[in-house]
């Protein structure tokens, strides 16, 4: 499954998005008593902006995989 360079890079980015989005990375921006950073970013609640950003990263990875990896593997099989 992770045979090509691109597949490895995409898997790495996807996993990184999981670590950063819902994972421990969220504490970088989470407004709390220990981390009294701003609760908003460009007028949006910061956790909303954070989840949207990492969603776009994940969706981008799936899109690239769909176009560059999955279609190719189907064609190779055929």
């Amino acid at each position: 499954m992770l045979k090509t360079r691109l597949s490895k890079i995409l898997a790495l980015i996807f996993f990184f998005a999981l670590i950063m989005g819902p994972g421990p990375g969220l504490y970088l921006v989470n407004p709390s008593h220990d981390n009294p950073c701003s609760t908003t970013f460009l007028g949006m609640p910061i956790l909303f902006a954070w989840s949207s950003f990492w969603f776009f990263v994940q969706a981008g990875v799936v899109l690239v995989a769909y176009r560059k990896l999955w279609a190719k593997s189907d064609n190779l099989e055929e």
Binding site: L18, Y27, F48, F55, Y66
Partner: protein, 546 residues
Amino acid sequence: MNNFRILAATDTAVGHLPHFMLGGYMLLLVWLCYLGYRKGKATEEDYYLAGRGQGTIVTSLTIMATFFSSAALLGIPGVVYRDGISFFLFALNLPVAGAAIYLLGDRMRKLGKARGYVTPADLVGDYYGGAEVRLLAAATSALYVLPYVIMQIKAGGYLAQRLFPDAPPLEFFGSSFTMYETGVWALSFLTMAYVLVGGMRSVAWTDVIQGILLIFGMLVAGLATIAYFGGLGGYFEAVSALPAKALSAPGYSDKWNAGMLFTICAFASLGSIIQPGQWMRFYAAKDSGTLRKSALVFAVVLPVCFLFGIMLVALGGQVLFPPEITAEGIIPHPSIGAKSSEVDQIVIVMIQRVVPEMLGITFGAIVVTLILIAVLAASMSTADSNLHALSAVLTRDVYDRFIRPQADERERTWVGRIVIVLATMAAVALVEWSQKAGAFNPLELISQLMLLAIAFSSQLLPIAIDVLFLNKGSRQGAIAGLTSGIGLVLLLTIKPEWSFGLTKIVHVSAVGIAANAIVFGFVSRVTKKVPQKRIDEFRRIIKAKG
């Protein structure tokens, strides 16, 4: 105007149009059920997998509609309303599940087509050999299905309560049924009927209509909420003024820390995409391209519906109907409900407030009705898939193997139908009991039921990965791993204090998967591997075209 009486108010504005729309939706389902029945053949493969020929539109929408349970429109928004914005990060499990549709699903499909599988247990039982793995996989599937069907049926009750708030109890054969009970029975009966008659084809076709309604409902509800606050700027300004606890993790209930959210996104997502109903949809897909496109649509469209649709509605609900934080817990605003479990109703209350404001009473009432029908569709599309899957599991994995191996295809299909009736009755009885239960009520919150069901189905993950990718496990390893995983999830669900706080940091599905995988790996190392000939045959099928 009272928030809950929009439909009643439309009696003067648009007559009984909303009620006719609800009736029309149900008639449409009956018609699709009839069409499915007419087109179907009297074979097991056709009843359970629609002849393995489902194309992209049907496959992608049936996978989405099955995934979109009542939790999507009631339970998950309920958690956002109760706990705040931290639960938005839950939506990041959806691209993971989406990618798995192709990465796992296509391999399952190829094996299913080549070796005639119908249920998940067919695949793992055939690979590892022996009856035990098949029985354990069937038990895992059944443990997933029952809580899921129960929560869909509950949603039917909630919806009926909200649609007809002033309706008196219905008298039927000398018994009196409240609106909640009427909704529970109506949803169960209709769903049961079209699954019974049309099998997978009817289920999938109704899922197409339901999937479209769901996407429409989630996005329009989100748009209406934003419009109610005067646009995106007004919306964000209003929600940014919520208390800091609502805008940060772990939220009001202190549940949604990074460990919990990460393990849900990484593991529970995979558990929910390999639930028996979805697994059977992979078998039913026509080809690799179908699943590839379905994976992309799922990974992109579903998170958009959550993040930019229904979750915005629930967060806006915190502004309009602030919950009360008490020593006993989080109590919803009186307009939402009196009990903490009634946070699940936030979307129903919100759309009845915000949609008519945006679209006016008449058109607003029509759109509100469509969204309420979408809530109903969410419940029905998941209940039907799960009842259908349970029927396949109990018939093929239990009845056919252990009770009457000599049964022919026709007999098995009829037994499957009896299973559907019995499972529906059992689920209705449990919901009725839950409604009348006192302090101890394990079925209270829809979101809790969803996460419990997913924790069970996740236990199939280690052996699924082994069969599809690794080929390192043994039959004894699979038995030991599954037993440990299911046992641990059951134990920690009944006695969460026995996890010594672990299940407060990570989701119980991840604890179960970790125990399952460790035991599976260790036992597989010291026992006899699956015969190389079988491994080679499976690898050959996976690598083959089509």
